[in-house]
C-alpha cells in the first residue's frame, strides 16, 4: 500500500494515555495521532494492550489519565458524541445469530438513526457490494464465518462513520476471506473513512498506511511499514516484529 | 484417572468462583427452613375482625369479650349497620364480621335461643373455613358456660383426642423433609442441567468431547461437584431440622442418609437427562422449573395433601421422584421405619434412576453420531 501522500488533519489525538487495572498497567503512556483517511494499524502480541486502547478510543472504557480526543470529542465527557461518529467491529462479529441479515441491518441502522426511507435501498447497495443480496433472509447462524465478518463490517460502516475501529476483525478466517475483507476496507477508505485496526497478522500490517507496534503496554515503534522495515533492515513485517518485540 | 481428577477439580473451582452461586446454594436451604419455621404457617392468629352488635347487652358483650380474649382475633372496627360490612371486606382489612342479633340476651333467657351470624371473607376459603370453625368453637364454649350456670344439658358425648408423632402440631415435621426434597432437586437437577446446557450453548462441549476425556468422565466431572454440595446441603437441613425445629430422627441415621444419597443420584441423572434434550440454558431452565420444581412443590404431597387432588393428578404424582423420597424420609424420621418398611419406595427410586441413566446414555450417543 502506498504511503499516505498528504498529511490531513488528525481525527484521533492521544497524549500520555494511561489505563491501569488495579496494579496492572495495560496502557503505559501512549502518544500518537491518526489522520483523516488513513489506515492505522495497531500491532502487538496478545495481551500487549491493543484491545484496551481500542476500547478507550471507542468509548467503551474510560482511561486512567491522559488527554484523548476522537473525532474532535473528549473521551471523558463526550463519549456519546463520539459514538455517533464511529463504527466498531470486534473479533466476536457481534451480529444477532437468531436474526436474518436484513433484520440485523434494520436494527443497527435504526439504532444509528439512519433515516427510515434510506435503510432498505442502502442495505441493498451494501449487500450487492459483498455479493450477498440473495441471502438477505437467511439467519446469521446459518452463514459461514467469512460472510459473517463481511456483514459485520458492512453494518459497522452502514451509518457512514468518520472513523471505524476494527478489533482483530480477521481472526479465525482463511487467507482468501481475509484478502477479500481487506478489499472491503480499501473501498471504505476511498470514501474518506479513517480505519483504525488491531491485528496480529503481520501480512495485514503491510496494508496499513502506518503501524504502531505495542509491547507490554507501550508503543515501541510507529511509522509506515516501509520506513520501519528500512530502519530495522528487514524484508518483511514478521521479521520486524520479532526484532522489535524481542 | 489423574486427568479425571484434574477435570473434577477444575469444575469445582469453576462452581465456587462465583460467590453469588455459593451464597445461594447454602442460603436457600437455611432461609427456606427459617421461613417455614418462623414465618409461614397454615394456622391463623390475630385475624382482624369487625363486630356488629345490635344487642349490646351483658350476654352479647360477654361473647364479644370471650372472642377477643382468644389469640385468634383482633378487633379492627365496630360497625353500626349492615351496609358497612361490604366496605369493611372490600378494603381488605377485615377477614370476618360477627353479627349479633337485636335482644340477643333476652332471647336466650326467654326463648332459650339467641342468634349470631359469622360472615367470613371466603375469597380465601382456607382462612374463611378456619376462622369460621375457630369462632364456632368459642361460641360453643360460651354456650357451655351459660348452660352450666342454668344447669341445662348441652352435650352428652365428650370428644377426647390425641395427636400422634407430633403432639404439638408443629408443621416442621412436614416442611423439613419437604425442603430437603426441594433443595436437592434444585441443586442436583436444575443446576446440573443448566450447567451442562451452558457448555453446549457456548460450544465448549465440543472442545471437551474431542479431549482425551471419555464422555462418561465429562458428565461425571460436571456432576460430582454438585453431588458434594447437595450432600452438604442435605446434612445442613437434617441438622437444622433436628436441633432448631426438633424434628426427630427415629429411624437409623445411616438409612436416612442412604435414602438421601439415592435421591441425590436420582436427581442428578434427571438433570443430566434434561441437559441431553435441551439445546440452550433457557430451555433447560424451563424444563427444570416447569417439569420438576413445580411438581416437587405441588405434586409430592409436601404442601398440599395428595389425596384431595383429582385422580389424574394423583396418577401424575406417581411418576414424581420426590413423592417416593418424601414418603421414605418421613417414615424413617418420624415413624422410625427400618429398611423393611421402606424398601419398596427405595426400589421405585432405584428403578427411576436406571431409567434416567438409560435415556441419558441413549440420547447422548445419538448426539455424538
Amino acid at each position: 500500500m502506498a504511503e499516505l501522500q498528504t498529511r490531513t488533519e488528525p481525527v484521533i489525538t492521544v497524549k500520555n494515555m494511561v489505563k491501569k487495572f488495579g496494579g496492572f498497567v495495560a496502557n503505559d503512556n501512549l502518544n500518537f495521532e491518526v489522520f483523516k483517511g488513513e489506515i492505522f494499524g495497531f500491532l502487538g502480541a496478545n495481551g500487549a494492550g491493543k484491545t484496551t486502547a481500542i476500547k478507550i478510543l471507542s468509548g467503551l472504557s474510560i482511561p486512567t489519565s491522559g488527554e484523548i480526543k476522537v473525532a474532535g470529542f473528549d473521551v471523558y465527557t463526550q463519549t456519546e458524541l463520539i459514538k455517533r461518529n464511529i463504527g466498531y467491529m470486534s473479533q466476536k462479529f457481534s451480529l444477532y445469530e437468531d436474526l436474518t441479515i436484513k433484520e440485523n441491518f434494520r436494527f443497527y441502522a435504526g439504532v444509528y438513526r439512519v433515516p427510515q426511507k434510506e435503510i432498505m435501498p442502502r442495505m441493498m447497495d451494501a449487500l450487492a457490494e459483498v455479493g450477498l443480496i440473495k441471502y438477505k433472509d437467511r439467519l446469521i447462524s446459518d452463514l459461514p464465518l467469512g460472510w459473517k465478518q463481511k456483514l459485520a463490517f458492512s453494518i459497522a460502516t452502514f451509518h457512514n462513520p468518520g472513523i471505524v475501529f476494527l478489533d482483530e476483525p480477521t481472526s479465525g478466517v482463511d487467507p482468501v476471506a481475509r484478502r477479500n475483507f481487506w478489499e472491503q476496507i480499501f473501498k471504505t477508505v476511498q470514501k474518506g473513512t479513517t480505519v483504525f485496526v488491531t491485528t496480529h497478522y503481520m501480512d495485514e500490517a503491510e496494508y496499513c498506511n502506518r503501524v504502531s507496534i505495542m509491547d507490554k503496554g507501550k508503543i515501541v515503534a510507529l511509522n509506515s511499514p516501509n520506513m520501519l522495515k528500512a530502519a530495522y533492515k528487514v524484508d518483511n513485517m514478521f521479521d520486524l516484529f520479532l526484532k522489535i518485540v524481542r | 484417572m489423574n486427568r479425571f481428577k484434574a477435570f473434577v477439580i477444575k469444575e469445582f473451582r469453576h462452581l465456587i468462583r462465583d460467590p453469588r452461586t455459593v451464597f445461594v446454594l447454602f442460603a436457600i436451604p437455611v432461609i427456606q427452613l427459617l421461613l417455614f419455621g418462623f414465618v409461614i404457617s397454615t394456622e391463623i392468629k390475630d385475624a382482624k375482625i369487625a363486630i356488629l352488635d345490635f344487642s349490646r347487652d351483658d350476654l352479647s358483650e360477654g361473647l364479644v369479650n370471650k372472642i377477643l380474649a382468644s389469640d385468634y382475633f383482633i378487633l379492627e372496627t365496630e360497625l353500626s349497620n349492615i351496609n358497612q360490612i361490604e366496605q369493611a371486606f372490600r378494603s381488605g382489612q377485615v377477614k370476618e364480621v360477627l353479627v349479633i342479633e337485636n335482644n340477643f340476651g333476652r332471647n336466650i333467657v326467654h326463648d332459650g335461643a339467641g342468634a349470631v351470624q359469622i360472615i367470613t371473607d371466603a375469597s380465601d376459603p382456607n382462612i374463611a373455613s378456619l376462622l369460621d370453625s375457630y369462632t364456632r368453637n368459642i361460641i360453643l364454649d360460651y354456650q357451655q358456660e351459660i348452660s352450666n350456670k342454668t344447669q341445662a344439658a348441652s352435650t352428652i358425648i365428650d370428644v377426647e383426642y390425641r395427636m400422634f408423632y407430633n403432639e404439638e402440631l408443629k408443621s416442621a415435621h412436614l416442611f423439613v423433609p419437604g425442603t430437603m426434597a426441594l433443595i436437592l432437586m434444585l441443586v442436583c437437577a436444575l443446576m446440573t442441567s443448566v450447567s451442562i446446557a451452558r457448555e453446549k450453548e457456548l460450544g465448549t462441549m465440543e472442545i471437551l468431547l474431542v479431549s482425551p476425556l471419555r464422555p462418561l468422565q465429562i458428565v461425571l466431572g460436571k456432576v460430582v461437584p454438585y453431588m458434594v454440595l447437595s450432600f452438604i446441603d442435605m446434612l445442613v437441613i437434617i441438622v437444622i431440622g433436628h436441633f432448631v425445629f426438633g424434628v426427630p430422627v427415629r429411624g437409623a441415621t445411616s438409612l436416612l442418609i442412604g435414602t438421601g444419597t439415592l435421591f441425590i443420584l436420582l436427581a442428578l441423572t434427571l438433570g443430566v437427562m434434561i441437559s441431553t434434550i435441551s439445546k440452550t440454558q433457557q430451555i433447560a431452565m424451563m424444563i427444570s422449573l416447569v417439569g420438576m420444581m413445580l411438581p416437587t412443590v405441588l405434586l409430592s404431597g409436601f404442601i398440599f395433601p395428595l389425596k384431595n387432588m383429582p385422580v389424574v393428578l394423583q396418577a401424575v404424582s406417581l411418576a414424581m421422584p420426590p413423592r417416593w423420597f418424601l414418603q421414605a424420609v418421613k417414615d424413617v424420621m418420624l415413624k422410625g421405619a427400618g429398611i423393611a418398611q421402606i424398601w419398596h419406595y427405595l426400589a421405585i427410586m432405584f428403578g427411576m434412576l436406571l431409567f434416567f441413566i438409560m435415556v441419558s446414555v441413549k440420547k447422548f450417543k445419538i448426539r455424538l453420531d
Binding site: 466476536k92 | 452461586t21 371466603a122 375469597s123 341445662a152 370428644v159 407430633n166 403432639e167 414418603q327
Partner: protein, 371 residues
C-alpha cells in the same frame, strides 16, 4: 423514540424466532392454570377413618353410621389393640382412628357423659386439625340428636346460641376461584422476571452487548426497549390467563378489568425493574437464574398465595412490605372476587409505583456502557 421502537421490534423477532420460547409464552399459562389450580388446595374432600368399636352396642353402631353417611368419610372398621392402631397409622393408610370405649351406650343413659377417643396421624398438622374438626362436628350432631330424640330435651335448651355462617364473595367455598387468581399472579411474575433477567445477560454472553455499547443508544432507551416487550408479554399472559380462568373455573370478574390491568401494568413495571437490575449485576444466565430463583421462592412463599399472612411475626410482615408478590396476589383477588375499586387499592398501586421507580432507576444506574 424511534430507537426504542427498533429495539422492541428486534426483541420480539428474537423471542418468537426461538421456537421453544415462542411456545412457552402460550404453554406455561395453560399448564399452570390447568394443573396448579387443581393441585394447590388445602380443601379436604376425603378422610379415611379407622373405627374400633369396643362397645358393639346399638348406640355405637348408630354413631358409626353417622360417619358412613357422610361423603367425607370412608370407614374402615376393625377390632384392634392400641398398639395395632398405631401400626395402622404408621402405614399411612388411614388419616385417623376413632375408638368407641366399652359401656359407651350405658354411659349415655346412666350419667349422660359418654366418651369417644380420636387418634390422629398428625404428620400433616393442618390436615390433622381439619380432619378432627369434621369428626367433632359429626359426633356433636349425633349427640344433639340423642338429646332431643332419646332423652326428650327440647331444641331450645340444647342450642342456646344459634350459629349461622355465611361465606361472602365465594358462597359455595369454591377453592378454584380462590387459587386461579393466585396462580395468575405467580404466572405473570415468573414470566416477566425470568425472561427479562435472562434476556439482557444473553446479550452479554453472546457479546452483542458490546456492539450496542459503542452505539449512540441512550441508557434509558436501552432499558425501555428491553422492558416494553416483556411488559406486553406479561399483559398478554394476564389476558390469556384470565380467559382460561373464566372458561375453566368460571372465576367471577366482580371488579373492573381495567382496574386490574392498570394495577398489573404498574406491578410489571416494578417486577421488570428487578429482573433488569439482577441482569445488570450478573454475567451469566446461570447466575441470574439462581439469584432470581432465590428471591422468587421467598416472595412466593411469603406472599399469602398459599398460606395466610395474618399470623406472621412482626419481622416477617416487615419483609413482606418489600415483597411485590404479596401486593399483587392481594390486589388480584380483591379486584376479581370482591370488586375492589381503584380507591380500595390506592396504597398498593402507589407502593408498586414507587417500587418500580426505584428498581428501574437502579437498573439504569447499574447498566454501564463504559467500564
Amino acid at each position: 423514540m424511534r430507537t426504542i421502537i427498533y429495539i422492541i421490534q428486534k426483541e420480539f423477532l428474537q423471542i418468537f424466532r426461538d421456537k421453544f420460547m415462542g411456545k412457552a409464552i402460550f404453554a406455561i399459562p395453560i399448564i399452570q392454570m390447568v394443573i396448579l389450580v387443581y393441585a394447590a388446595t388445602f380443601e379436604i374432600k376425603h378422610i379415611d377413618l379407622l373405627v374400633v368399636d369396643r362397645d358393639g352396642s346399638s348406640a355405637s353402631t348408630e354413631l358409626i353410621n353417622k360417619f358412613r353417611g357422610s361423603t367425607f368419610f370412608t370407614v374402615h372398621k376393625k377390632q384392634l389393640t392400641e398398639n395395632e392402631i398405631k401400626a395402622v397409622l404408621d402405614e399411612g393408610t388411614v388419616d385417623l382412628a376413632m375408638v368407641i370405649p366399652q359401656k359407651f351406650e350405658a354411659s349415655i343413659h346412666r350419667d349422660q357423659n359418654a366418651k369417644v377417643q380420636f387418634l390422629i396421624d398428625a404428620v400433616n398438622g393442618t390436615a390433622g386439625e381439619l380432619a378432627l374438626a369434621y369428626c367433632r362436628a359429626t359426633v356433636m350432631s349425633y349427640s344433639k340428636e340423642l338429646l332431643i330424640e332419646e332423652l326428650g330435651f327440647t331444641q331450645g335448651v340444647v342450642q342456646a346460641i344459634k350459629i349461622s355462617s355465611r361465606y361472602w364473595f365465594n358462597p359455595n367455598m369454591n377453592y378454584k376461584i380462590f387459587m386461579a387468581p393466585g396462580i395468575l399472579a405467580i404466572l405473570i411474575t415468573v414470566i416477566a422476571w425470568f425472561m427479562t433477567g435472562m434476556n439482557l445477560v444473553k446479550e452479554k454472553e453472546s457479546g452483542t452487548i458490546e456492539q450496542l455499547n459503542v452505539s449512540p443508544i441512550q441508557k434509558y432507551q436501552f432499558i425501555l426497549g428491553k422492558l416494553i416487550p416483556f411488559l406486553i408479554i406479561g399483559l398478554f399472559d394476564l389476558s390469556f390467563g384470565l380467559v382460561l380462568a373464566k372458561l375453566l373455573y368460571n372465576v367471577p370478574f366482580v371488579g373492573s378489568l381495567s382496574t386490574l390491568f392498570l394495577f398489573t401494568l404498574i406491578y410489571l413495571f416494578a417486577i421488570l425493574g428487578i429482573g433488569l437490575f439482577i441482569s445488570t449485576i450478573s454475567n451469566t444466565q446461570q447466575q441470574v437464574l439462581f439469584v432470581s430463583f432465590f428471591f422468587v421462592m421467598i416472595f412466593v412463599l411469603m406472599s399469602g398465595l398459599f398460606t395466610p399472612v395474618e399470623n406472621m411475626p412482626r419481622w416477617g410482615q416487615v419483609i413482606n412490605w418489600f415483597n411485590p408478590l404479596a401486593y399483587c396476589s392481594r390486589v388480584i383477588r380483591m379486584v376479581l372476587l370482591k370488586g375492589s375499586n381503584i380507591h380500595d387499592i390506592r396504597f398498593e398501586m402507589l407502593i408498586m409505583f414507587i417500587y418500580g421507580i426505584v428498581t428501574n432507576t437502579l437498573a439504569v444506574w447499574r447498566y454501564r456502557k463504559t467500564s
